[in-house]
Subunit: 177 residues, 2 copies
């Protein structure tokens, strides 16, 4: 029998300890280069230093006091209601429990609450990112653009987008049926 | 007879006075909202405060000591050789002299010198930006992607791109003929 798992609790305010937690989570995935890990940690630092003015908002997923995963999103400057999902990562040891999907859904709920209309996610077109793209596809994100050789030669940027307005109207319609 | 114009001199280091110069130039174009003008000025402030570490590089076009236009570009984090051209603007009173084109060419020369492979420019798909898009088209930029409703409902983002590697090899070939 699978051991009982402690419930997941979401937390939205960053703490000093999240600098290490985020470094550890992002590194554990084995997916990111050192310079990318540094950027992930830097965004937490910006949040701690400037609060909402940083433009970075977080959702931390905790269980029994340990941070197992997190998402980072924020409004895109000079747009009305467009948001970037900058990071979403789940500790390697906590993967396979649907935590990524819950973090994404919670981020979408918060973005919608802030009047967000659209969410953008940027990822790599390289074969090793196929599971990442499949995850987002599964969560309703569509490929909006492919920028060839953006990250490097033979490493395209794939821009995924999801309209929150459509999903809201769909759920309203569904609720009325 | 057209009066003799003072020659244009390029300057690359930002000065305190550029905060006002950039605000004035960007506002004079009548093209940008107050929040966009604030972002333009903020990038100069970042440059003054952090130097190269800001990630923002500038080209100022001066004539007789007055700043008539400028461009701002920088490397895109987590990419190998991809650069964003963040801003290019020419004072309304100095337009029509090919200054925009010279600022763009000078920016490309500097980016190439830093090992840049590709330059990206983001602009709006709205009709009023048609001359902007025509300018970039004329300078060799191709539409790489269109993100619908990105800036606002019915206000798409158009991503233009130019490969510097191609233009280098073309000019080498041309030089050999």
């Amino acid at each position: 029998m699978r051991p009982e798992l402690d419930p997941i609790v979401f937390r939205y305010e960053a703490r000093d300890g999240d600098l290490d937690a985020v470094r550890s989570i992002v590194a554990s995935t084995g997916f990111f280069r050192p310079d990318e890990i540094a950027v992930a940690v830097e965004l937490v630092g910006e949040r701690l230093a400037k609060g909402d003015a940083s433009g970075y908002h977080f959702v931390f997923a905790e269980s029994a006091g340990a941070v197992l995963g997190y998402a980072c999103y924020g409004p895109i400057a000079c747009t009305v209601g467009s948001y970037d999902l900058y990071w979403i990562a789940v500790d390697a040891a906590a993967q396979g429990r649907g935590l990524g999907r819950r973090l994404l859904a919670e981020s979408e709920r918060l973005i919608r609450g802030r009047g967000g209309r659209r969410i953008y996610i940027e990822t790599s077109g390289r074969p090793q990112y196929a599971p990442t793209r499949a995850f987002y596809d599964c969560c309703g994100y569509k490929t909006a653009a492919i920028l060839e050789d953006f990250y490097d030669a033979d490493d395209d940027k794939v821009i995924l987008a999801k309209s929150l307005i459509d999903s809201v109207s769909h759920s309203v319609r569904a609720g009325r049926e």
